[in-house]
Amino acid sequence: MSMQAALPIAMIPGNSIIHRINPLAKLVWVVGYVVLAFSTQNIIILYSMAAFALLLAPIAGVTRPLLKGALILVPVGSSLLALQIIAPAVERPWTIVDQLGPLSLYGDGVYYGFVLLGRIVASLLLALIMVMTTHPSDLFTSFAKLKVPYTLNFMLAMTLQLIPVFQREVGIIMSAQKSRGMKGSGFSAVLPSFVPVFVGAIERVQQLSISLESRGFGSNGIKTSYRQVKGRPSDWVIGIIGVLVVAYLSTISIMRGTWSLATEITFSPLFVLVTFLVAASLFACVVLAAVLFSFKK
């Protein structure tokens, strides 16, 4: 039930090498991953990136939560692949590799489907690992070092902290309404809860700002942080390696016009058929589960 909705993605405390890397160095890598993923269509690069991210998970000790968080990829990935096979996002002419009742399966979209999937998988995995191994305050302390204005930084930090609070609040409010016999489901059922949630949010923010002001928030001077973030030489090395690798690979990709291997790699009809069946049935399962779940509620 939503009552105990904990954030699915939260920091997993630990002291691994990955945990100890400077948050900014990690951020450089995440941003680099996204940049590279969207500048290349080379699936070897894309899936190597994903594999590298997966390798980091056991080192950081976050394999299980990572896989749990990555479950979101199942509906996204399966629908993406299945769609690319029946309606490729590439120029015609398409070649039919198989006929499944009224559906024609085309081979042309498969490569592009795997590219899209690879981009999402690689970026998401690394981003999740970063979130799971970085204490939020460390990130904000690092931002402060980058001369991000303190007020802005503080706003970001507070917003992030309030998300789980609101999640819990929504859960409680929904159960209060249900206790009074509120019927209906979907949006109309959620609507009455918005009032208490927003009123609660505004009251909370008002109180917070008063309490902050009364404690001298906004006065001048250098702000120090309770948590110290170190920028060791190794962090610099990691960050610089990230920048160099990304810069190198994305430059080549762009020079080669996204470096697509679509013409080099061809998929056998059987592979296309199996991919389609697996993707389509996975997606069907997710949809079915979602429908059943909403009925049960």
Binding site: Q4, K178, S179, S193, P196, V199, G200
Partner: protein, 295 residues
Amino acid sequence: MAETIQGQGGLAIDVRQARYVYPSGNVVALGGVDLAVEHGEIIGIIGQNGSGKTTLTKLFNGLLKPTSGSVIINGIDTAKRTVQQMAPHVGYVFQNPNHQLFARTVQMELEFGPRNIGVPEDQIAERVAEAVEFFGLQEFVEEHPYRVSFPVRKLVGIASIVAMRPPIIIFDEPSTGQDHNTTHIINGLMRRLREQGTTVVCVSHDMPLLADVVERVIVMKSTEIIADASPREVFADKALMARTNLQAPQVTEIALETVVPLGGPVALTTEELAADIASRAGSKSKTSRSSATVR
């Protein structure tokens, strides 16, 4: 509805070996609790923070389903019903009224519950009018629930449940943070519910309130019920109070130190203690009284 319920003959609340484990973090909040409450009983639940009081009461209206064991309310197994289906049988007054109120006016707020459980319109009007009268909300009916003061908001929250007239009502901390007037109204409400034969479960840290209105006190400590007796017995048990870090009402503590060793009652209210002291003073020799006047 109450007819079919009483027809079941049995208990208002029948909890057997109920365990509850919060899925997030695997917190065991209840470890095999047994509890039987008759129709019309007024019970209080006390215990330290985190002892499982709220969790137990949330089992009563199906907000939480037991991880194992059973919870039968008015003969209905909560595991087989939704919270909405339980709503006509069990009213739940949340601790924080802000979590409960959302309508545009107090009037509409009070109408919401009865309408949801299918009370006919003319009866809704009557119930709401009665609740407004009882809780003294006349001047607020057209106000937005968030524009009235916190104690009044709390009363609106309680009234919105009372207007549904469920045979069982659960209060989670009805009197904490309330002014004297509100506490007084809550006190009166408990008495009226008792007269009406409503079963009341009241989770509270407010010992004087409980001493005053409940007939039976359940003491919880780390996921279990460790005592179940009359307020007099519970509050007189110094070891129990110490073990659970609870404090009996001051009147009771004073009585225990003074009149009880002399054969007096374990007083629960000031009136009771005062009456006993007065009778002792009256039966004493005149000298003691005159010496008091001299001083």
